[in-house]
């Protein structure tokens, strides 16, 4: 039976009791309490309005008008072959698969190795490793203030749980595949992920969102990451949702002393996309490298909201986002850097470069520095431009056909972010998808 939300604030608030009674809530009782508490966040605000400073470039009226429902029962209609087709060739990894927000056990390689590394579904982990999950779940992502985190915390069914104990460097990437299928009506799915990397440990996690059909659904993701002292995490978020999907996601990272994270986002799918990246550099000497590439066409809208919080001294952060926009698409880059009072010797840098392939495409880029400390170095820069005509002519004057010259230029642009990925098979696969995307654009007569 489906739980239907008609778009109103009330429907999302009142739907919770139905959800809790539906048998879909397979998590322990303490999570139920959490859900009840979390929903009041959304109850207080509903979907944000344009008048909200953090949402001034993204109109959510369409969410308020569209009905979504929690339906479907997982893996049933996704073949192993389909699942395999989303793999990265040559990549040896641990694979976990979720279909419409629920864990698909057979194609997944659940892991509990002798060193204590765990990779499984959050719903299982909440039962089996209750303390571990309870210590961290919903401790970082703020469900009181953020309406999407509130909804996710209230309605999530599953997601990935990854735990790397102290002193273990887990080399194998964990490939987490989230597949959306056509359930005959617009779905509401809430993947919820928790990644805990212990002291002096390392992990590589690839969140990969795909869809088997081009239908409408609302995917609302929250990932919480705890990066222990002196730990290293490389995190990927590859968003290839349906072109009609609504995709909201939050990556909330808590970094302890001397930890390093690299976050790589590639956004390609979705009609309306909001990508929140929110690391808190909580301990001294942290480093955050945040890379992103977003590509939009048609009437896609992609809103990237960065909030890099420097809460301790001697931390470095780098934001490096590139956008490629075609058709009538719109992009937003909102880069906020917050430097707290005690965070002296902060070094924060932000760059956003945008390539417009059409006259109709539009980008709003906005740096925002909130600095409560004198002893900091913060820089930001943004560029918006078309493909460099002089460079294209230069390439053509050497005999390279125009089409190829454009491809070369686009590749150079997108590689500025992709080249920072350490997993080469993923980098190569993404480079290919970027090229395929661009070839399609060229075929449609765009990409001037």
């Amino acid at each position: 039976m489906a739980i239907v939300f008609d778009g109103t604030r009330e429907s999302y608030v009142e739907g919770l009791s139905e959800f809790l009674g539906s048998g879909r809530n397979t998590l322990p009782e303490w999570v139920t309490d959490l859900r009840r508490e979390a929903i009041s966040g959304f109850g207080n605000t509903g979907f944000p309005m344009l008048s909200d400073e953090e949402w001034r470039f993204t109109n959510l009226d369409v969410l308020r008008r569209t009905s979504f429902s929690i339906v479907g029962n997982g893996i049933s209609d996704v073949s192993e072959k389909t699942v395999d087709s989303y793999g990265f060739s040559g990549l040896s990894c641990v694979r976990l698969v979720f279909v419409n927000g629920r864990f698909a056990s057979p194609p997944s390689d659940e892991l509990r190795d002798e060193e204590g590394v765990i990779a499984t579904s959050l719903s299982k982990a909440a039962c089996e490793y209750s303390d571990l999950v309870r210590n961290h779940l919903a401790r970082y992502a703020d469900y009181e203030k953020d309406p999407f985190i509130s909804l996710n915390t209230s309605y999530f069914e599953d997601g990935v749980f990854i735990y790397v104990p102290d002193g273990v460097v887990f080399e194998k990437p964990v490939h987490v595949l989230y597949i959306s299928t056509d359930e005959g009506q617009p779905m509401f799915v809430n993947p919820r992920n928790l990644i805990v990397v212990g002291q002096s440990s390392g992990a590589k996690v690839v969140e990969h969102y795909v869809s088997t059909s081009q239908n409408v659904y609302f995917s609302n993701v929250v990932t919480e990451v705890v990066c222990g002292e002196n730990a290293n995490l490389e995190h990927y978020r590859l968003e290839f949702e349906s072109q009609k999907a609504f995709n909201f996601s939050t990556l909330r990272v808590n970094q302890r002393k001397n930890s390093n994270i690299a976050s790589h986002s590639v956004l390609c799918g979705g009609a309306l996309v909001r990508n929140n990246i929110h690391p808190v550099l909580a301990g001294e000497g942290c480093n955050s490298d945040i890379y992103g590439l977003f590509m939009s066409e048609g009437r896609q809208h992609m809103d990237n909201f960065m909030r890099v919080e420097h809460a301790s001294p001697h931390c470095d952060s780098r934001q490096f986002y590139n956008g490629v926009l075609d058709g009538r698409s719109k992009g937003v880059f909102h880069g906020r850097i917050m430097v707290h009072e005690g965070a002296e010797k902060t070094d924060a840098k932000q760059t956003n470069r945008n390539l417009l392939l059409s006259d109709m495409a539009q980008i709003d880029t906005k740096p925002q520095l909130e600095i409560y400390n004198d002893d900091v170095k913060c820089t930001h820069g943004a560029t918006i431009g078309q493909m460099d005509e002089e460079a294209l002519f230069y390439l053509c004057s050497r005999g390279i056909p125009m089409r190829k010259a454009k491809i070369i230029m686009l590749r150079a642009f997108t590689n500025e972010t992709l080249e920072n990925m350490s997993i080469s098979s993923i980098r190569d696969a993404l480079e290919d998808s970027v090229m395929q995307w661009f070839e399609r654009r060229l075929e449609n007569g765009s990409g001037r």
């Binding site: 460079a391 002519f393 230069y394 004057s397 005999g399 190829k404 070369i408 150079a412 642009f413």
Partner: protein, 244 residues
């Protein structure tokens, strides 16, 4: 090889070339000199096919073909090469990659097999040694962060790899120290032959001591106003353009 007749070119409704004529036979080296803004680079860019310059009148034939109808890449494959006065920086595109793509595009145009990586590398290394170019420069992004002289040398390097029939060198000597000038001149001279022609645009007679031209043309206000032998360059050096 090249015949330009009554060429009129405008940009943004402003006429820059005003009835220019020049004929270059195979094996010849022509030098064009002239004051700043007289249209020398415009001519060079028009020959290479830059679209911002509109040809309103006149003809350009290259080896019997009407050049005006050809795209820049077709002209390049037909054998025209422009060494830019201001080589363009292209961050993120490796110099070697550009060159290999360019060379293979040309080979494909002539129905030849693409050059293998090793063959290309060997060829590139050879030419680089001759031009005193650091191998490092090959791996770096095209012209990005190159010094003025490195950019010019890189243009000559590309010319050597692509082996054009007609090379247009637009102030390739500007910004070169005396040693580099000799190296670049040697690079050009080593390519001279009965089938290859050059148009050398320069402000300095100095270059022409090393690359000795068959003809020198004076360009003023979009036209060739005087042509002569190599001694004309010497005359210009002494008297300037005041007489034109």
């Amino acid at each position: 090889m090249l015949e330009v007749r009554n060429l009129h070119v405008q940009v943004d409704d402003k006429e820059i070339l005003k009835g220019l004529n020049i004929t270059v036979a195979p094996g010849e080296v022509h030098s064009i000199m002239g004051p700043n803004g007289s249209g020398k680079s415009t001519l060079a860019q028009v020959l290479a096919g830059k679209e911002t310059y509109e040809v309103t009148e006149g003809e350009i034939t290259f080896q019997g073909k009407d050049l005006i109808d050809l795209e820049p890449e077709e002209r390049a494959c037909e054998g025209i090469f422009l060494a830019f006065q201001y080589p363009v920086e292209i961050p993120g595109v490796a110099n070697t990659y550009l060159l290999r793509e360019a060379l293979n595009a040309k080979r494909e145009y002539w129905n030849e097999k693409p050059l293998k990586h090793v063959e290309f590398a060997k060829l590139a290394r050879e030419k680089m040694r001759e031009l005193g170019i650091d191998e490092d420069l090959l791996k770096r992004s095209v012209n990005t962060g190159f010094s003025g002289g490195e950019k010019k040398r890189n243009e000559v390097f590309q010319m050597q790899i692509l082996e054009p029939r007609l090379s247009v060198l637009d102030e390739t000597d500007s910004g070169l120290d005396i040693d580099a000038l000799k190296i670049v001149a040697n690079g050009v001279n080593s390519m001279r032959g009965t089938e290859r022609s050059f148009i050398v645009i320069t402000h300095y007679q100095r270059l022409l001591n090393y690359i000795v031209p068959d003809f020198v043309h004076v360009m003023v206000d979009g036209k060739i106003v005087k042509s002569g032998g190599k001694e004309l360059a010497q005359e210009l050096e002494e008297k300037g353009y005041a007489g034109f």
